[in-house]
């Protein structure tokens, strides 16, 4: 049987995986989506719901939610703000930046010297370039002297956006 062992010691079973494959393009928009999925996968509706609840509790699923096209919502400026933050301070400062309400993602990532000296990434969206820059200035203020370099990378084109996809597993390996 095919299983994935996650970091949190939960197990993604073959049945969970079937649910993921069945819903990765979307949850059925019907009154009882659990029963609808159960019908497709030959699983009782209550089991479908219980599996979703467990996957959300273990973090396999962040949430079941709407993903907007941020351009269509008017947030046309997507700025990846990147910062060169001293290694001693980054854990504490990263937490603070992540808590800013306008930062959607915040990660520590490796430097690639000499081309890339930035180790803190904070994604910021805005309806104008000014708005993104105003938000970046607030990040700068929090980082203070621990930050010795910064830039903002704006996206100028989406080249591909399919989201994460699991392949259907036909063989048991």
């Amino acid at each position: 049987m095919s299983t994935f062992t996650s970091k949190s010691d939960s197990v993604l079973s073959a049945r969970d995986r079937e649910l993921i494959v069945a819903t990765q393009s979307g949850l059925p928009l019907v009154s009882d989506p659990w029963a609808e999925l159960g019908k497709q996968l030959d699983m009782p509706a209550d089991e479908v719901l219980t599996r979703f609840q467990r996957m959300q509790a273990t973090g396999v699923i962040r949430r079941v939610a709407a993903v907007p096209d941020h351009y269509r919502l008017g947030f046309r400026f997507n700025g990846m703000t990147v910062w060169d933050v001293s290694d001693d301070a980054i854990a504490e400062l990263g937490e603070k930046i992540g808590c800013l309400p306008f930062v959607s993602h915040c990660y520590r990532r490796p430097r690639h010297l000499p081309y890339w000296s930035y180790n803190l990434f904070a994604m910021v969206h805005g309806v104008s370039r000014d708005e993104v820059e105003h938000k970046a200035a607030q990040i700068r203020e929090v980082l203070g002297d621990a930050c010795t370099g910064q830039t903002i990378l704006y996206s100028s084109a989406i080249l591909k956006k399919t989201g994460l996809r699991l392949k259907k597993q036909t063989d048991k390996q």
Binding site: L49, R62, R63, V64, A65, L73, W116
Partner: protein, 166 residues
């Protein structure tokens, strides 16, 4: 003006804000936080918003059909699924950009790919079924394109809460 034209000619001076009805706004804002995992999830959200379940489902479908929402469903955490996930960047000369875009996008492991204004001008997310798949895919991309790939896996996650209030 079409959405595509707006994207290719962004203007700082007059942001174009789309018009949404109060109900559309409420649905967009509420459903980004997540559907409650209850026996009657759509009815529970509809009750919160003070509309019928049928009305909610009809509007949700319309927002998906017109492209306001790209997706409604489970958001997976690839790291927790036991697979590999990373952000990678490349530096591609302008004359090769279109060709390399096609080559990179041809990999099913490439989930998102953005052009960005920087010397490192191509940024993509790689998702693989196993953690080892990342290095292997990067080698295949380097060998197909002839350009180095800079791997920037997350070393620490501080926060993820993508939410757009409209």
């Amino acid at each position: 003006m079409s959405a595509i034209a707006e994207r290719s000619k962004p203007s700082d001076h007059k942001p174009v804000l789309p018009e949404f009805t109060p109900l559309e706004r409420a649905i967009i804002n509420r459903l980004q936080y997540g559907l409650p995992l209850t026996r009657t999830p759509y009815k529970d959200v509809a009750d919160e918003l003070g509309v019928s379940e049928v009305t909610l489902l009809k509007h949700l479908q319309a927002l998906l059909d017109n492209g306001t929402l790209t997706r409604f469903g489970p958001m997976f955490h690839a790291g927790e699924m036991g697979g590999g996930l990373t952000l990678a960047a490349m530096r591609i000369p302008e004359q090769d950009f279109a060709n390399v875009t096609e080559q990179v996008n041809s990999f099913p492991e490439v989930a998102h790919n953005y052009r960005r204004e920087h010397e490192l001008n191509m940024w993509f997310v790689l998702a693989t079924e196993t953690p080892e798949g990342i290095d292997e895919t990067i080698k295949r991309i380097e060998s197909l394109t002839g350009y180095p790939v800079y791997n920037m896996p997350k070393e620490q996650e501080f926060h993820v809460h993508l939410h757009f209030e409209v």
